[in-house]
């Protein structure tokens, strides 16, 4: 998926365990791949609540993703809101963001909401 010839444009990794290794691999895919426009990580679990931040921090304007689904994540997503907000504040490409059923609270990082 890091190669220019990769034709995959929808990547679904639902229900996976995201360790530091998976998060870094996903981060590289996000940075290098120009084809994938839809990513679905619904019902994934992060084994230390911060691995997913590694990936979300790269969801900036250099990524090509149009639709990101994080439905029903099985860990505390509140710790990821800050890096996601920072990345989104420079992102002009993301059209659809699904944060359904992630137990997030607005007050944890208000700058995320104002960056929308």
């Amino acid at each position: 998926m890091l190669k220019p010839k990769c034709r995959i444009n929808i990547l679904k990794v639902r229900g996976a365990l995201i360790t530091t290794l998976e998060a870094k691999v996903l981060q590289f895919i996000l940075m290098k791949n120009r084809q994938i426009h839809t990513m679905d990580f619904s019902e994934c679990i992060d084994d230390n609540n911060s691995n997913f931040c590694i990936f979300l921090a790269k969801l900036d304007n250099f990524s090509n993703v149009r639709s990101l689904s994080l439905d029903g994540m099985l860990h505390n997503m509140n710790s990821c809101i800050e890096p996601l907000g920072d990345a989104l504040s420079t992102n002009e490409k993301l059209h659809i963001l699904n944060l359904r059923n992630t137990r997030i609270r607005v007050n944890n990082y208000s700058a995320f909401w104002t960056s929308l």
Binding site: L88, N91, E92, K93, H95, I96, L97, R105, V106, L116
Partner: protein
Amino acid sequence: MQPEIKLQELDLSRNLLTDAGVATLANGLAKNDTLEVLNLEQNMIKCDGCAALSRFLNANTNLKELIVAGNKINNEGIQYLAQFLDKNSTLEFLDISRNHFNDNGFEIFASQMAKNTGITKLDISKNKDLMDEGSLVTLAEAIAKNRRL
């Protein structure tokens, strides 16, 4: 120069958003001119959250779908929501099902529907306190007047 965010759909359903959270969100979205779908289903929105959403919708001209089903919107809340109906003409779908308002609150909302020119889909199902025919008659009369629904 601050980049322009192109977010068109935001799904925050089934979270823990309170009135304060929705107010922060509404303030943040005030500058957004691309969002078309906002899903706030099954949060903890009450009266003040509705007031914030109503203020947001008074000025917004892009949002087409607002889903606030399964929240804690009472009579006061639904009356706040009614305030945007005569000012906003772009919202097409409003889902206020599974909330806590009764006929007294809904009657005002229903009468305001006559002045709305945008909504084509309205979901008021499973509001268990909505029993009286009077408010539904008011809604029917409003629908007859605006001819959009």
